[in-house]
Symmetry: C2
DNA sequence: ATCTTCTTTAGAATAATTATAAACAACAAA
DNA sequence: TTTGTTGTTTATAATTATTCTAAAGAAGAT
C-alpha cells in the first residue's frame, strides 16, 4: 500500500507538479502488488471506473509520456496498433499472447543472458528486449 | 536476379492472382541481393520511383498484408508509429537505430540460442524475437 | 493577494490504417 | 473468342491512435 504522500514526493522529485489528475493516475498505476500492462485507452477507462472521475484523454497521454520520460514506465514494442506500457521498469522481457492480446512478464532469469556478438561502429546498445509470441 | 515468371508462380502458389500491380511489388521487394526493411509508405514511394507507375495506397496495403499472411514478409515489432516489414523471413533478430530510425539484421548466431525457461499452460511459443535498440 | 508558470481541457488536426463500392482484369467454361 | 464469375484495384470516405492548440484553471513563489 503506497500512500498519496509518496506519490506527491515522487512527482516533486521529477519536477512534475503534484496535481489531482497526476496523483489519481499514480494511484491507478502504482498502487498495486503486481506489475501492470496497459494501453492509454485501458488506463483512461480504468481511471473513470476506479476513481469515479474522468480525466481528459490528452492529460492521460501527457502524464503517461511524462512518467515514461522520467523512467516510471516502460514502453513495450509489440506489433499492434496500440502502444503498451508496463509499470515494471526493471530489465525484463515479455510473452505476448497473440489471441488474448495480453502481455505476461518474463523475468530476466527465465530467459538467460543474451550476448550480442555484433556491434555497429559509433553506436552502443541501449536496450535488449525479447518478445516471445504465444499461440494456442 | 529473379525473373517475372518466378514471381507469377510464387503468386499462383499462394492463390493470389498475378496482377500487374502485384508483380511490380514483387520486383521492388524481392529482386534484391540484400534483405530489405520498409514501411508501407517507403514502399509506396519506392514503387513510384522504380517502376514509374503509381499503385494505389490501398493496393500496397492489401498486397503487403497478403504477402505477410503467406509468409513472404515478416513484420517487425518496433515502437514507432509505423509498422515495419522485412523481406528476410528466416528466423533472426534486429538492431534498431533509434536516431536514424533504421533496422539492421542480426543473424541468429550473433545472438546465440535463447532458452525460454518458463511456459504458460495451454500455450506454445510461436516466435522469439530480440530487438536491440542502439543509441549514439 | 498577486504574478508567473505549469497543467488541464475540449476539441481540432494529423497520420496510419481499414472499409466501401464501383470499375476493371483474370480465369474458366462454353 | 465471347460470356459469366470471381478476385482485384482504385479513389475516396471512415476509423483510430495520437498530437496540437489555445483558453481556462491550478500551483508555487514573492
Amino acid at each position: 500500500m503506497t500512500s498519496k504522500q509518496e506519490f506527491i514526493e515522487k512527482l516533486r522529485n521529477s519536477c512534475l507538479r503534484p496535481t489531482k489528475q497526476r496523483i489519481n493516475i499514480c494511484e491507478v498505476l502504482f498502487n498495486r502488488d503486481k506489475t501492470f500492462h496497459f494501453t492509454i485507452n485501458d488506463l483512461f477507462n480504468l481511471i473513470k471506473d476506479k476513481t469515479g472521475e474522468k480525466i481528459s484523454l490528452a492529460t492521460v497521454y501527457n502524464t503517461v509520456h511524462a512518467f515514461h520520460k522520467k523512467g516510471y514506465l516502460k514502453e513495450i514494442p509489440i506489433n499492434s496498433n496500440q502502444t503498451y506500457f508496463d509499470t515494471n521498469v526493471t530489465d525484463h522481457h515479455h510473452f505476448f499472447d497473440v489471441k488474448e492480446e495480453k502481455l505476461i512478464d518474463l523475468k530476466n532469469e527465465d530467459v538467460g543472458p543474451i550476448e550480442i556478438q555484433k556491434s555497429i561502429p559509433g553506436k552502443k546498445i541501449k536496450s535488449v528486449e525479447v518478445l516471445v509470441k504465444l499461440e494456442d
